[in-house]
């Protein structure tokens, strides 16, 4: 039976280890955005032994390239639905290990290496409705900060957001290493073979 949780950052290991695939989460607190370039940037900084400009431990990382606008000197988030997480599969396990994030939010799923890291370090991967950009923007109450904006540009910079009841997020990989998409995609593959054998 799937459960609904309302969680707040910083997330503890206990918070995330109790989640199971198919559960729904509403998240409040601090999340930071990181797409392809930002993952590289953050890992490079950590590998060089330098300090990050913010503390990622216990936060959620959100795979997104938002549409933002500056209004009266303040940043306004117009649209912020998730980007395809699969592009980050090669580095996400390292990212989880080195940053201490406890939730990865995105869409489209992630793979075995990420699932392994979720199990080892205590983290989950959750999906927000792809394309529901206005709904996401509504949950973002404040832009706390933005990092490396000139270097990376608006979609790829790291944005630190304060969110309230951001969701519904569907837990797709849990801290037991289970991946909700594995079974569905395996069935799809089998069904495709079946259909082709009928032609």
């Amino acid at each position: 039976m799937a459960n609904v949780y309302h969680l707040r950052t910083p997330l503890s290991e206990e918070d995330v280890r109790k989640l199971r695939v198919g559960d729904t989460v509403y998240l409040s607190g601090l999340i930071f955005t990181a797409r392809d370039a930002a993952h590289r940037k953050i890992l490079d900084i950590i590998d060089r032994g330098e300090q990050l400009p913010f503390d990622p431990r216990g936060l959620a990382v959100y795979h997104v390239g938002p549409v933002v606008r500056k209004k009266n000197g303040e940043w306004e988030v117009i649209a912020a639905g998730p980007t395809t997480s699969a592009r980050l599969e090669p580095v996400e396990h390292e990212f989880i290990a080195k940053t201490g994030v406890r939730m990865i939010i995105g869409k489209g799923g992630m793979g075995a290496k990420t699932a392994e890291a979720c199990k080892k370090y205590g983290a989950v991967y959750a999906v927000f409705t792809g394309g529901a950009a206005v709904l996401a923007a509504q949950a973002i109450k404040r832009v706390v900060n933005v990092y490396w904006l000139d270097e990376l540009g608006i979609p790829e910079a790291v944005w630190l957001f304060e969110v309230e009841e951001f969701g519904p997020l569907t837990v797709t990989i849990d801290a037991t290493g289970k991946n909700l998409y594995d079974e569905i995609l395996e069935n799809a593959r089998r069904k495709a073979q079946e259909i082709l054998s009928r032609i």
Binding site: A86, G109, I184, I195
Partner: protein, 296 residues
Amino acid sequence: MSLSRDDLRSFLVELIRVAETRLPVDVYESLRRAYEVEDNPIAKQHLGAILKNSELAAKLGKPICQDTGTPVFYVEMGADFPLRAEFYEVAREAVREATKIVPLRPNAVDPFRKKNTGDNTGRFVPWFEVELVPGNDLKVTFVAKGGGSEAPSTLRMGLPIRGVRNVWETLLQAIVEAGPKPCPPVVVGIGVAALSDQAMALAKRAALLRPIGERNPDPEIARLEEEMLKAVNELGIGVHGFGGKVTALDLHIEYAHRHPATYAVAIATNCWALRRATGYITSDGRWEITSKHITG
């Protein structure tokens, strides 16, 4: 009264704005139908969010999705359209202006030097497909093509001896490989042609320009479209890959006569947020958006 560059630019900016913020009625209706028939609770939850988001975007005049896409113009240019030489430049101006005011996310990146141009224009961006037609009007369909649904595009140069099996195999493999990544439920376009680029271009037209629920005018192809749509939905990938009845909202086939030695098959997908708008402008500066969109 005659057509000015300002008229043309205003028309194109409004066309872009409507496409980006207000879902077409045919797309919205098919999502509503999907919500009604879906009984997988997670899929239904995400369909509900999709509908709510679309309604909110239309009501608030905000972009439906944060990936405001690569700008593509499908143009039927009247041979006597007064601003035919200036069209490309004015369209680029319109994209820059729309980027500022809608606003759009800057999505034009140099693949070698990595710099984002900041205004959605650049080398071969916007992308234009222009047909010359008789008359002095200009008809345009603007499509915002998102990257997420573009990434799983597939081209396969099939073996002619395998015939239509080439299409079945390419289609099913592409949809399974794509899985949840293109934000299902998707609209699928299939192109079959002599040339590789032809197949891809036809697949894109089939996916982006054909109304949802409309069948190919050729009854044999229409039957193939129905069979293939049914097969895609039998895969059970569902909304955002969470399983369920609706993986594809529709499937369209477009084809060209092929070369005896080639059987080019291309699969194009668009996500549920099919952002397209159509309109025309006359040589005396009158314009109208003719496509139907939700008002939120």
